[in-house]
Symmetry: C2
């Protein structure tokens, strides 16, 4: 029976290109797709992964590991979209997607262990990146293959991962404000220990420095009071706009400014993730779309082709971002 | 080997009570738990479901069917919590949880079929209730067992389901406003064809009628303009409070009132779901918590014990709700 590799060789492309064609990815040109379809036809290829798995003695199940801590999943519509991206690719290739959750790393690892032992699951997608690498270490020690969504903390060279370029996204968001006539954007964040927030801040700083402006950042924690925001605004009358680390922070900022009787029309606000929060707020938030469904799809393509790793040399996929313009940056 | 049924008979309780004790449910009294633990010890019971499955020739996988349509999952943090509830119970009993998604019912059914054929999955949790019952019909026709989260549209008597009592929740929310000195709450919704929104409206109407007030409802669709809201508010100067069909509608209302220069302190607003939207808005929204994690856990307990159906007679579990008080209903 012909495999994805055979089709790839016949068509002169990489196996991941074949796989993307199978799920009709918009990243592959029509021309390439047709070339691949011809190769499939010639080799009489049918994407019957289950039969291949049977021969290989592995399960046709991809494990998806959600972050430990109920709150982070509950508060982030993001994970639902990532999961849909993963299942859309896997199901199409006759792979099932099994989910592991846990209230902490220990419980998560227990559940991963159960999946490996009882379900013969050998390939995983880890949907989060954290400072503690217990989970990844467990996977490494047990010879599981995995793809990370997010940026690896260590072993970057050996890790397969899919992410957004958050530095570039931070830079683009800031340049958008500067190009639209704002002079003094401040970066507003909750926790710079979080990789994503830090990367977006680095991008913000690059854009400011390139334009010979001084970067300014402001932290809003959960227990933040409106008096503190009032003080910051009073001390920085030059601030005319804000780069919020994500949509929820964007909404928090809008509410905070209203609470201290500021006119939202006086401040440009851009945020990230383009979630429902950006659309539901008033004025609606200009936000950087990060395509979580694509993050999930790309991770699935990588993990399904993990055995072809030496052949493809694809270790990292960067999913593009896009600024979605709304009312919050219209003067 | 002793089964859950044997333990249940020995302890004089139902199998689902044993199952709940296994995952340490707070719904079971300490006394009952101890009785069950004694029975387990006596019978030398160990919750090895995988071994039992092997004997029964079924897989140890529970299929979870998410709603068709990416938007509904992306916009509803709810599904992440339901999924976590399901996996926490299933993983603890050595069951894996596999997820089916699809952009429409046809794709969803294709993926369910794949899970049944290739993965030997025979038990499902359907996380949504819709007018079209293609998916449930497919499951019925193929002798799959399932538990529905939400209210069945037909075959109520034969369907296993878990839901919130949304009529009672709507009534409680309305009574809360009346008890707190508001006189004319209006029910604000997007689509009364949606079962949940309709049930909450029925509950609202009951509370109003019991208090000899006339129910009033107002629809806000996606393309709603601030002029329309202005007109409604002008025509109904008596309205002093709002029962919003969910948190997102609560935030939409707050933004709409701000857009027509109303003082939010003049309106009491209560909403449902107690999601992050309720906490992030300003003023923060009083909201009815519906415990999505418990919905998932209860559905998992039901589906894991589905073979004991005739024995337990438990066909429906209603998960309680609770009003979480915040700033939006403080005069």
């Amino acid at each position: 029976m012909a495999t994805i590799k055979d089709v790839a060789r016949e068509a002169g492309v990489s196996p991941s290109t074949v796989s993307r064609t199978l799920h009709d990815s918009s990243l592959i040109s029509q021309e390439t797709k047709e070339k691949i379809w011809r190769a499939m036809k010639k080799l009489n290829y049918s994407p019957n992964f289950a039969a291949q798995n049977l021969a290989n003695n592995t399960s046709n199940i991809i494990g998806v590991i959600l972050p430990p801590n109920e709150e982070s999943v509950a508060n982030n519509p993001f994970f639902g979209q990532i999961l849909q991206g993963i299942t859309s690719v896997c199901n199409q290739q006759a792979y099932m997607v099994s989910v592991a959750t846990g209230k902490d790393n220990a419980e998560l690892i227990e559940n991963v262990q159960m999946m490996m032992e009882r379900g013969q699951v050998k390939r995983f997608i880890v949907t989060f990146s954290q400072q503690s690498d217990d989970v990844l270490e467990y996977l490494d020690q047990n010879d599981a293959e995995y793809v990370l969504i997010g940026e690896p903390i260590k072993n970057i060279a050996e890790t397969l991962y899919v992410n957004n370029d958050n530095v570039a996204a931070g830079k683009d968001a800031t340049e958008y404000l500067l190009d639209n006539g704002y002079y003094h954007p401040v970066y507003v964040y909750e926790d710079l220990e979080e990789m994503v927030q830090k990367d977006r801040f680095i991008g913000y700083s690059h854009a400011m420095e390139a334009d010979e402006r001084t970067p300014l950042s402001y932290q809003i924690k959960k227990e933040h009071t409106k008096e503190e925001l009032q003080e910051f605004i009073d001390q920085h009358p030059e601030v005319d706009s804000m780069v919020a680390c994500d949509d929820i922070m964007g909404v928090t900022l809008q509410n905070g400014l209203l609470a201290i009787h500021r006119n939202l029309a006086d401040y440009g606000i851009i945020s990230f993730n383009n979630s429902l929060f950006a659309r539901a707020s008033h004025p609606s938030l200009t936000s950087v779309e990060i395509f979580p469904t694509s993050l999930g799809m790309e991770a699935a393509v990588l993990v399904l082709n993990v055995d072809d790793r030496d052949f493809t040399k694809v270790k990292h996929v960067s999913v593009p971002h896009k600024i979605v313009e709304r009312e919050s940056t219209k003067r």
